[in-house]
Symmetry: C2
């Protein structure tokens, strides 16, 4: 089968051979009207780099991507989505068939309560937009009672990064969380990145480095914790 041969060709090692990894990456777009939308500065680079690292370790990779300008890593199955609702649907359909879920996407927390069908006219001096919460994709997967994958989340924060991340780890019942300082040129639009990786009983700091090198270092931690949780 083609995909098996592609994976074999690109794999540098066999640590994830036979394991299926679902990865989300990029931003989402939440329409306000047919032309305007709310989004964020995520470029998808970190998620795509992690997908490449997983492929290099022999994994079968499914990549659910928001709107990004990045080529599909060779060997990955890619599903393109635009909104958080579309990403939620794709992930909930795919998750039970995967062993690991790595949620790098910067999913919009809110969407417009009522997106306008026609382009909004700028008649008023001020305007108020009503937003409602989007479904929490990561928490939904982590709450699966059957065929729940090992769940790795990201916490992108501008302040109190580690405290928020540890709270998110416990509240959403994740296996691992990667705390990521963003804003002011850090994280989303930078070429390098630094992470604190936390789990229930510990944590490790991955210092600032290129997103590709960081993806490899992160994957080492993920694989170690994943195998530990499965008693391997």
């Amino acid at each position: 089968e083609l995909r098996a041969r592609v994976i074999e060709h690109f794999a540098r090692d066999d640590r994830l051979v036979g394991h299926r990894v679902l990865i989300t990456a990029g931003p989402t777009r939440e329409p306000l009207d047919p032309v305007r939308f709310i989004t964020n500065r995520s470029t998808g680079q970190q998620g795509f780099a992690i997908a490449e690292a997983c492929l290099a370790a022999g994994a079968q990779v499914t990549l659910v991507a928001g709107p990004v300008n990045l080529p599909t890593p060779p060997g990955a199955a890619r599903i393109d989505v635009e909104t958080a609702a579309q990403m939620h649907a794709a992930v909930m359909q795919q998750a039970p068939a995967h062993d690991l879920f790595i949620a790098t996407a910067a999913v919009a927390d809110y969407r417009a309560a009522e997106p306008a069908e026609r382009k909004l006219k700028k008649s008023a001096e001020t305007l108020s937009i009503e937003l409602v919460r989007n479904p929490d994709i990561l928490a939904s997967v982590a709450a699966l009672s059957e065929r729940r994958p090992f769940c790795v989340g990201f916490a992108a924060e501008t302040h109190d990064v580690i405290a928020y991340a540890r709270d998110k780890l416990q509240r959403k019942r994740l296996d691992l969380i990667c705390a990521n300082e963003v804003g002011g040129g850090k994280g989303f639009e930078a070429d390098d990145n630094a992470l604190h990786v936390l789990w229930d009983a510990g944590g490790v700091e991955l210092p600032r480095q290129g997103k590709r090198e960081l993806a490899n270092a992160l994957l080492d931690v993920i694989i170690e914790r994943y195998h530990a949780s499965h008693g391997a």
Copy 2:
């Protein structure tokens, strides 16, 4: 001088030799917090194609661009901006030194009244964002009492395109307006486009074609109306 030689090299004709053209292109981004922002589907393609057409006609071109993934047309002076306020400042500084102003940018009509300094937390089930009007760049240039360039606007609409465009032409005292139907795959994200070009005493329809061909057809109309308005 280098720019003169570059222009000479790329010019196909001399219709705009010695004329200075200021062009805005792309979307703007209006921050809600350090990572989130409101933007729109404009890719900047149409504006960059018009810049290339102006350069080919021998013009000196200044291109004020929002965040787009496009290379600078050879010979153009490019100023990159992110927000509508930044674009307004750049244009008002440049406009008096230019003979034509072609406003293709999809400038955000509104910005957040108070962008958050920290990333917003998703504590509430619903959220209301207060927006305030941005300055109207095109109307500001068209209202210049001295050194006012010939003003070409765009009206991107999902409905009643021509009626809105004619109203905008008169209300903002433009010399020419290009009405552009957008949404549902038309306009912003499509590779081709169609325009209705309107002026006080008339109008012409430019049928659906590639954005580069359309830019050339549009420039023919602009140059004709520009020279007519100057009695040339």
